[in-house]
Amino acid sequence: MNRGFGSIVLDTSFRVLVPFTLVYGIYVLVHGEYSPGGGFQAGALLAVGVVLARLVQGREAAFNIKGTTALIVAGIGTFIYGAIGFSTILFGGKFLEYGKLPFKVHDPAELHALGMLGIEIGVTICVMATIVGILDALTRGEDLS
């Protein structure tokens, strides 16, 4: 797992596939309000990009996230979610009351949509980083042998 399965076919198809996967992940994230989708699915898709890089190019892949970094990033992702909830307390509402977010919009309902987008971004980051982190932890054992 640390060396990757690189070969010319894999490398080429990897180069074609990964940008689409990442863009599709972001599409699923921002489109979650209008169609089936949302943070969890988007996170899994984004993680696929990183996991593919690991599988094809090995641990030295150009875009790779180290396991420990992934864990910290996962914490930050969930923290974004909690922080959005906590910020509404500071602006005078209840926890997670998106209606109190300090943005100018013409319809108060849109504040809710903005808040949802914010927390979905947090969820995406957490899911992506956790999947990468778990992969890293599971394959680390192979270093020892």
């Binding site: 209008y34 169609s35 089936p36 969890f40 778990i134 932890a137 599971l138 054992g141």
Partner: protein, 122 residues
């Protein structure tokens, strides 16, 4: 009568059988990996049960078509939202269990419950 049963409540019996199969699998198997798979079957049964509760004949996906918010048009979105949570929980549990199994396999060289317990309490 029988038709109503088949269309209306048979699914509850099937879900109960699936759930109990999962539990029997956990109790009966000796191999930790098989137990884990049985655990997943059990969790799927619970998820199915909730999704069945959200069903409504004539209803469609709970995504608004135009601005039509007629209640009869859409199925109940609440169980779907709840089960997204339950699915994620079941996934996390499985992940942690697999990590534990890797440790057990590393240390004991096997994942048969009898043997491991005997060696543990020696």
């Amino acid at each position: 009568m029988i038709q109503e049963f088949l269309a209306g409540s048979l699914i509850y019996w099937l879900i109960a059988i699936l759930f109990l199969l999962g539990i029997y699998g956990i109790l009966d198997n000796n191999n930790f990996m098989k137990k884990l798979m049985a655990m997943n079957i059990m969790q799927v049964a619970v998820i199915l049960f909730f999704l069945v509760l959200g069903q409504k004949s004539g209803g469609t996906l709970p995504i608004m078509i135009g601005h039509d918010n007629n209640v009869d048009l859409y199925i109940n979105p609440l169980p779907h939202a709840l089960m997204l949570t339950a699915i994620v929980v079941s996934l996390s549990t499985t992940g942690v269990a697999l990590a534990l199994l890797m440790r057990i396999q590393d240390h004991y060289g096997e994942i048969e419950e009898d043997d491991i317990l005997r060696r543990m309490n020696k």
